[in-house]
Symmetry: C3
Amino acid sequence: MKPIESEKKFRYYTESVKQIEGYREPIGFGIARVDRGQLHNEKILQASFPVVNWKENYASAAAFIGALMESEVEVDFGGSEFVCDVKKKFVKNAISIFDAYIKSAFGTNHSNVQVIKYLHQISQNEGLENNFRIVFLFEDAKCKSVESVYLKLYALSLGKAPLRSLNLEGIFGLLENVAWSVNVPVELEWLRANEIEMKLDGSYPFINAVDKFPRFLQHIIPEENVRIMDASKVRMGAYLAKGTALMPGASYINFNAGTTGAVMVEGRISSSVTVGEGSDIGGGASILGVLSGTNGNPVSIGKNTLLGANSVTGIPLGDGCIVDAGIAVLEGTKVSIAKEQMKLILEINPKFKFKQKESGNIYIFKAIELSGLNGLHFRRDSQTGAMTVSRSNRKVVLNADLH
Amino acid sequence: MKPIESEKKFRYYTESVKQIEGYREPIGFGIARVDRGQLHNEKILQASFPVVNWKENYASAAAFIGALMESEVEVDFGGSEFVCDVKKKFVKNAISIFDAYIKSAFGTNHSNVQVIKYLHQISQNEGLENNFRIVFLFEDAKCKSVESVYLKLYALSLGKAPLRSLNLEGIFGLLENVAWSVNVPVELEWLRANEIEMKLDGSYPFINAVDKFPRFLQHIIPEENVRIMDASKVRMGAYLAKGTALMPGASYINFNAGTTGAVMVEGRISSSVTVGEGSDIGGGASILGVLSGTNGNPVSIGKNTLLGANSVTGIPLGDGCIVDAGIAVLEGTKVSIAKEQMKLILEINPKFKFKQKESGNIYIFKAIELSGLNGLHFRRDSQTGAMTVSRSNRKVVLNADLH
Amino acid sequence: MKPIESEKKFRYYTESVKQIEGYREPIGFGIARVDRGQLHNEKILQASFPVVNWKENYASAAAFIGALMESEVEVDFGGSEFVCDVKKKFVKNAISIFDAYIKSAFGTNHSNVQVIKYLHQISQNEGLENNFRIVFLFEDAKCKSVESVYLKLYALSLGKAPLRSLNLEGIFGLLENVAWSVNVPVELEWLRANEIEMKLDGSYPFINAVDKFPRFLQHIIPEENVRIMDASKVRMGAYLAKGTALMPGASYINFNAGTTGAVMVEGRISSSVTVGEGSDIGGGASILGVLSGTNGNPVSIGKNTLLGANSVTGIPLGDGCIVDAGIAVLEGTKVSIAKEQMKLILEINPKFKFKQKESGNIYIFKAIELSGLNGLHFRRDSQTGAMTVSRSNRKVVLNADLH
């Protein structure tokens, strides 16, 4: 294939690729270096993406697809995803197709072209097909490959796809449970097969985890002013917005969970949970996930909300709420609201409708009925033991559209 | 010593060894690679066993003992344990004794013979006696050596000896407190002696813990479908049955503690605690150990029991129980059971006898009086603050022998 | 400069240095190896001190200052701190000045001289100025350099300066947020600039944390019988007195916080909190810090006090107290004390004055009013839900001066 020497011709070329019958724009694509099983070489244990394209860079996608076709790979647009080996031929063709961009591809420019340049260098010395794979995701269906699982986890962790927006069904079945020796996934079966020799010659590897998922920090460079004081506490597929700090005590952020603004995290953000700007998850506070006690309702915590140390929250909360230290607010927890507090709460929750009649001077609710309201303060009276809700003293900024 | 060329002759040989006066079958034995003190070479800091024999492989034990005697080591059967250096002579003799098995010793076959084969290889290039030790445990008495402590911890962690079945008295006194640099134990005194030089030339080691115990994953390859998301959270001497998953938030499993079936562990399993199949230890839940608040009664948690997030449990529980999130159930915690709930509880606890008279419509118990019962649901009334027990909605499978 | 051949002459020399106009004795000083930014070489990311001098070794300080001046560095005594490069010339002069001590400088003798000896060796092969810095702290003012921040953190972590005794204002602004690859700080910007290449060639580094602070164990060799089961759980700047053990579950010790005697730590010791000899911080127990809910009052916990599992403590406590498992004692928590318990409490708190009148047989307090008292037992009645305080059953050793 001859070099495509101008940007105009590149655009012409990629447009022509897009005219192929059945062509589909991928929602996500990228080239990954993969780690394979030590015993089962056909098994992909991990995929590391230097660049993730998500609803963007469609011309580069077309260029990659063109380069595949020119090297006689038939791209199947019929399925939800297409994954294949990266071979020298493909890289050579891609170098030709991207010719007009090669020189300016460095720093933050043309990152897909940079990938091709490095692959071209690497291919001078070694075969590529065992180590590199290219993935196209045509729709957000159930994943069919480890590579597409990783592409989705990257999209979440890079903030390119919002938390809870992707189909992650069945990913536990696709990912292999492996021993992680620093950044390298090791098959447990291989460890077993080599245990005697390695224990005797002193080469038994350092294992820092056994899990299906890698850690967030193995793949993701955090955003500005994010602090993660212990890498083991954030699973790949989590997202930490700018300014989020995670302390090492009892904290944890699972995959498909995280923060949407700067949050102080000293507690647990279970899978499917999101927490908003300015909130504070106190030491040991637990927010329940869809897999752990919420009947499948994902919990969102609003902005500027405080979950006290060792509290437990199983319902969604709005902005400016407080759950006192040591309190558990589950779906069925009964709480009382005094009449005058209800007035204050309604002021900042104008859309809240409830049918209950007051009983004496108080209303009784199941906590789930208060889902998502702003400015609630959950506390337990330390003399009567009763759980009450009152207007919190934390600021609630109402969206204009609530009025 | 001449090679013993047939399996029959091997059996004859080992039987003859067993006829030696005073011979005792070891309950456990194995050969370990040891790490010694950098300053105090006589101190054993860690012992790594490629193969642990526990109430099994008595012929191999006799072969090892024979090989020791043929190399003029006097094995003392009088004590509870015997430990000595592994020398070239011993390995040579063992190679001869196991001659009939050498060829077939690979994969999962004849693992003790594999050990000898590798030692034979290693001995071509280096002396063995500083690095390898052989241990025989003749009875489960108080340990006298670091090597026997490790042999017992391995037996527990490999599931060869049930949790709480071994005499672990005094092991804290035998184990050295060391800095763990990845898998290598380093004497603190050596660090101090070399601190200035290492800090200045940039070679100060990475220390991931300072403790007497190594981590479980330094020595044990977990069983099928076990996940340990942070190696620091499981101490050597713990046991995790198939399917157990340990999340990284506030979880921890101490030595001589663990699970007897697939358990989701997001809380703390203190030393001496066991948890049964299908149970769920919620985020931050604490189960108290004999060293931390149970008056020496080890706590067992049954099957299919749920300990809510941030709950605390200080009494044994049966199957299908629930401790609500945020609740502390200690030995002296008073709980009330309504009359009609008591009927339901008795149905699934037919052997439970209690003398109490009802008071009004409720019974009052100290939690310890309900030890080990099935199907209990501990909750706190969120309006009155009272702790109650009722029949849980979790399934309890009664053993036939209870009826 | 000629060698100063006797100790007497050395003393004479250092006294003469101290006569320089404006000379000030430093409260702290030391030479550090520094890690610099991979992209921004001018940024200091970490400083490792082989030896920290704190209100001691004033003759060595004078010798260092003399060696600087002889190598034409003008030491500015006018500011609160002085920091400069360590150059070959300085080291040569220091070798001459310390000549009388060179031979005996090994083991635990003359550690500052040992530093100079090693630097002298290193300087044979490489330049020093990019890697080594010398720091003098003349007063405990707001830090102006990363080097002085580290010097203060070392002083705290080595127990040379008491916790909470130093001015740490503004240190978050001085420290760079970096990725920690084992012991090495890596600029996030450098990771970003090299991500594509490193992901493709498989050299992406192992990152165990992203934080401004290093871990305690990267710099400090713990005191006798201290155990830290997970290095991620203790931040540089914390102090752990002899015999302190930190378990890996939900524990954490922040900078400028720690223990003043042997303490079992299974919970969180927030920044500014201190805990005394013989106390026990149960699994998941939280002690609130000045940044997390105490209105700026630093919390001290006395001796022999027990904080139960998953308890929360937001007020200072004296000796021999108990906070029951799962209880939250915050500043505003109302607690009742029965009249006869009050008598027992006053016996061990003779200086406690309170104005309250009893109401029936009980007194009601806000927890903050009981700050620092000895022998309190905080519990929640499991039938009424009321928080009470009574005399604990833990031993309180009263200081003689209380009587």
